[in-house]
Symmetry: C2
Subunit: 198 residues, 2 copies
């Protein structure tokens, strides 16, 4: 299994985190985003959007970080993370789509501005970030994990850009439930960090 990867990407990190939690060996292929390698013809043949991560599992290529999480859990029968029960799978999906939408355009976008100078409206990104923090804080008031009583793909998908929110100039000081949830993820067996998450 080959992961097209970039160390500082939270989207790549969520895949590395799941692979570590599931104790799966894989090969990392660094894509040089700072020099535009993701827009080369060779890489666009792997990832039509020119994005990392991408996964190549013996010729089966999967793009999109959340879709890669679904692929790995379904293929490796990691039922804790992605159960077949329709209601649970849909509740997890709700957080995967929240990650692809509100978290990508909130805390992730704010970090892209602060860390990489991305041309994104920082004020809108900040407003979206605190709105999704409010949503999660209320949701986690009586729950240890986002869905059910154990970590699922919902937690793995949402974790990186919440944990990295300081990079985007955002503060979680007023969000104690989120703080405890972050600590629970970090305490999972085989947890790995990344620069900014330890």
């Amino acid at each position: 299994m080959k992961l097209y990867d970039m160390e500082l990407s939270g989207n790549c990190y969520k895949v590395r985190l799941l692979l570590s939690l599931l104790d799966v060996d894989y090969e990392q292929v660094a894509v040089d985003l700072l020099n535009g390698e993701q827009k080369s013809a060779e890489y666009l043949a792997i990832s039509p959007k020119g994005q990392v991560p991408a996964l190549d599992d013996g010729g089966t290529v999967i793009n999109d970080s959340q879709a890669i999480l679904v692929y790995l859990a379904q293929k490796l029968k990691a039922e804790q993370y992605w159960p077949a029960d329709a209601a649970t799978q849909a509740q997890i999906s709700y957080w995967l789509f929240t990650t692809a939408n509100e978290i990508a355009h909130g805390p992730c976008a704010a970090r892209l501005v602060k860390l990489f100078g991305a041309d994104i409206d920082y004020e809108s990104a900040t407003a979206r970030a605190y709105a999704v923090f409010d949503l999660m804080e209320a949701h986690l008031a009586e729950r240890e994990f986002l869905v059910g009583s154990r970590a699922t793909l919902a937690d793995i998908a949402a974790f990186p850009y919440i944990a990295l929110s300081g990079d985007g100039g955002l503060s979680l000081a007023d969000y104690p439930n989120i703080g405890r949830w972050l600590a629970r993820i970090k305490a999972l067996p085989n947890f790995v960090g990344m620069p900014g998450v330890s």
Copy 2:
């Protein structure tokens, strides 16, 4: 099964479309978005984001249009739309996340500006819309549906806001492959339209 619904919402429409294709009876509950009913305490107890659609299936409440599609297909064992094979499920997921991200912030956002006067940057929405049209046009060059040889959740999720792009002042004239794909969806048995899609 009860669907919290709004006639002009493409997100609600995609759920109505799947329910029709699967020939499922359900009750529609209109939510009065123009008068802010989605922000009432009563509705926020159903949908913490204050959004339509929401589905209540005998007390199991599912939010997010894409998550509702996953719920329905998984629960009703509609394997054509959401197969258990990991690679196929992940390829479909790729388009579900593309819908939650690029389509929501592209053609859907452009339509919100033009039809409802939403406070969203129209120029950015338009640029995102044509980028996702380009992606789909290339992808559909040698395919009849987005994944595999039959309609799946990928097509049902992406269809509404592509079909409604004229409402957002966007043109599909230069996208013949997308045009043929739209026609294929409209030809599915039990297809239903909505205002702007017939």
